[in-house]
Amino acid sequence: MKPIKTRILLADDDEDDRLFFADALESLKAETEITTVHDGEKLMEFLEDENNELPHILFLDLNMPCKNGFECLDAIRLSERLKHMTVAIYSTSAEERDIETAFVKGANVYIRKPSDFDSLKKALTDVLNVNWQFHTGGLNRDTFLFSI
């Protein structure tokens, strides 16, 4: 029996970051399948299209053109079909305010974009290893921010 691949969706407008992310994921040699979108609008189009399979984890950048990460998060949590999706915020910002907002709006985890490749790989490994189905129950503010 072929194991199910973990479907990962990355919404990020930065080409370099998409590249780093894809490279890091590939180097993990995990069974993953990555889809990328360039901005918030495109993300929502993708998610709302019922022909597309929903990702297991959505990595969501906050600062994006057209529709930013928070707006997308709001839309996802309001949608009956999408509201249980695991959302990981993936942003450069270390602002307390952004982290707080993401938590309040219902993101599952907050990852600050690391500044070296190894840290990125480690962060992705950790996130993929969490069994998100059971994780949500014990979610609190302290474990929310992923320390890298």
């Binding site: 930065d14 370099d16 780093f20 490279d23 450069t92 910002s93 270390a94 602002e95 307390e96 974009k113 690391p114 500044s115 070296d116 490749f117 190894d118 990125l120």
Partner: protein
């Protein structure tokens, strides 16, 4: 209250006046009565005396007649009868006079009637004697009997006259006694009453005088107060007005006219005139406020006024309905010309807005600079980290060296940006001070610094800290920065040790604070065993971007301690540093209690 009312000067005066008038009437009536009594007594005495005199004259006339008759009888000479004829007339006159005087009194009338009859009888006998004396001799018995009868009548007359006289004397004596009584009693009562009246007059006079004096001084005070008030209104650009609700009368103070650019009393003070000066757009509002104040709601309203010279001024009015003692309802209003304040407030608000705009511009500039700079910086680091070690082997030593320098520069830039972000965050206005357990904040700070503490095996020994009203994240950052500072500047070959001690201290005991005593501070001292610094840098160490060491050796950005100073000061506290080169540094934080 009632007592005071009774003894108030005007009541006192009224009472004194009534008493005085009453007394004067009393004195007058008593005097009148006494004088008329005296008059009557006097008259009665004179009357009695007159009757006596008349009676005595009558009796002597009778005696004249008697002696004339005797002489005639003895001599038979008709010449002796001369006085008899005259006295006949004068006796009749006397009798008539007495009869008139006695007229009113019945007792006297009776006595007098008796006397009158006796005198008539005597004259009859005298007539008989005369006739007989011509006819008979002296020894004639009939004649002698007639003479004897005459003598008997005469005796009776004497007795009767004596009786009347003694009767009159009795009356006289009684009246004189009464008179004497009256006379001795009169001066006593009059002088008593006079003294009493004088006393009351003096009392009234004194009261009146002191009242006048008091009224005078009160008047003077009132004039002074009025003048002060008027000047105060003029200087303070204040006017006031009163509106009597019952009489519908409006009174404006002199300065209220002046505030409108008018002469005092230039226009009729009515509500309509009052509102005419209010700016068109504000008139309705002012009128509504005015109506509202009729039901005891004090109102305050700001509005524009168009002065007589068409200049627009800003007024602020406060008014209140009051009730006077006599039950009248009066609205009292104070108007202030607040144009200057209004303009300066407007200017201040404008400046404030400009400042807010420029602040938020600065803040977003700061945010953009630090935030957006992070992206390329992170990517530089990322790309370098992706160069494989195998690839590094292939480039020249110089290039490898350059690559490593690029990496360390990028790291530094990243750190600088991070610190700048923290610094900006501390400037934000979302401070919320709440009672916070500082031990908890210190624990959080240690968690934040866990990696560095672990790496250097740093030892942190802390006293039990108090609970203070602070903005938690700021003080936590302050602790983080101080611990990070101590670890960063630790001696290379020694284990870093940080001692945190706590005490409460009075402001007067701290020389650097330079404040009078009474205010208590929490003193938290961080002392380490690091490399320390020269005492001359004690102040410079807190200035933004100021560094004491070269960046190759110590990776500071010069922001950390500047943040500490900012945090302490934004809590109304202080931070001071003391350095001992080679032995360590001490940072003392004071937070107000």
């Amino acid at each position: 209250m009632k007592l005071r009312k009774l003894t108030s000067p005007s009541t006192l005066l009224t009472v004194a006046f009534v008493i005085s008038v009453f007394l004067l009437f009393f004195i007058a009536s008593i005097s009148f009565k006494q004088i008329s009594t005296l008059n009557r007594t006097q008259e009665a005495i004179t009357y009695s005396l007159n009757i006596r005199v008349d009676l005595e004259r009558l009796f002597s006339e009778l005696k004249d007649v008697e002696s004339a008759n005797r002489a005639f009888v003895l001599t038979g000479d008709e010449r002796y009868l001369e006085p008899y004829r005259y006295s006949h007339v004068s006796i009749n006159k006397s009798l008539l006079a007495i009869g008139n005087k006695v007229g009113g009194n019945k007792q006297r009338q009776k006595e007098f009637d008796v006397l009158y009859k006796l005198i008539n009888k005597r004259f009859e006998t005298l007539r008989d004697n005369k006739i007989q004396a011509r006819k008979y001799k002296a020894d004639d018995p009939e004649f002698l009997a007639s003479l004897w009868r005459g003598k008997m009548v005469m005796d009776q007359i004497r007795v009767q006259i004596n009786r009347i006289i003694s009767h009159e004397t009795g009356i006289l004596e009684r009246q004189e006694a009464d008179h004497r009584n009256e006379i001795t009693f009169t001066p006593f009562t009059s002088s008593f009453l006079v003294i009493f009246s004088i006393a009351i007059f003096v009392l009234t006079f004194l009261t009146l005088k002191s009242n006048l004096k008091r009224t005078g001084s009160l008047n003077q005070k009132l004039r002074l107060t009025n003048k002060t008030f008027e000047n105060a209104e003029r200087i303070g650009q204040i006017g006031h007005w009163q509106y009597d609700l019952d009489r519908q009368e409006l009174t404006l103070s002199d300065n209220r006219y002046r505030l409108l650019g008018c002469e005092t009393g230039e226009f009729e003070p009515t509500i309509a005139e009052f509102l005419r000066f209010v700016h068109n757009q504000d008139r309705k509002r002012v009128e509504e406020c005015f109506l509202k104040s009729r039901n005891l709601t004090p109102f305050a309203v700001n509005y524009r006024v168009v002065r007589k010279d068409k200049k627009i001024r800003y007024f602020s009015t406060t008014s209140q309905l009051i009730e006077t003692k006599d039950g009248r309802q009066i609205i009292i209003g104070i108007d202030r010309d607040v144009t200057t304040q209004h303009r300066s407030t407007a200017k201040l608000e404008q400046r404030n807005n400009e400042l807010r705009v420029s602040n938020s511009e600065l803040s977003s500039f700061n945010h953009i600079v630090s935030h957006d700079l992070q992206e390329p910086m992170r990517k530089i680091q990322m790309f370098i980290s992706r160069i494989d070690n195998d690839d590094l082997e292939k480039v020249s030593d110089t290039s490898r060296n350059y690559l490593s320098r690029i990496q360390s520069s990028a790291n530094r830039a990243q750190k600088l940006i991070d610190d700048l972000l923290v610094y900006t965050r501390m400037n934000r206005n979302d401070k919320k001070a709440e009672p916070t357990d500082l031990n908890e904040l210190l624990d959080n700070a240690k968690i934040d610094m866990a990696q560095a503490i672990e790496e250097r095996h740093a030892l942190i020994i802390a006293d039990k800290l108090p609970t203070v009203k602070v903005t938690p994240y700021q003080i936590q950052q302050l602790f983080v920065n101080l611990i990070s500072n101590s670890i960063k500047y630790a001696k290379e070959n020694a284990r870093p040790e940080i001692n945190i001690t706590y005490s409460v201290i009075d402001a007067s005991q701290v020389q650097e604070i330079n404040k009078p005593g009474g205010k208590k501070f929490h003193r938290i001292v961080f002392s380490d065993n690091g490399i320390g610094f020269e005492p001359e840098y004690e102040k410079r160490i807190f200035v933004l971007f100021n560094r004491l060491h070269d960046k190759e050796k110590y990776s500071g950005t010069g922001i950390g301690l500047a943040i500490c100073k900012k945090m302490a000061e934004s809590h109304g506290g202080y931070i001071f540093a003391k350095g001992d080169p080679g032995n360590g540094a001490t940072f003392t934080v004071y937070l107000p209690q």
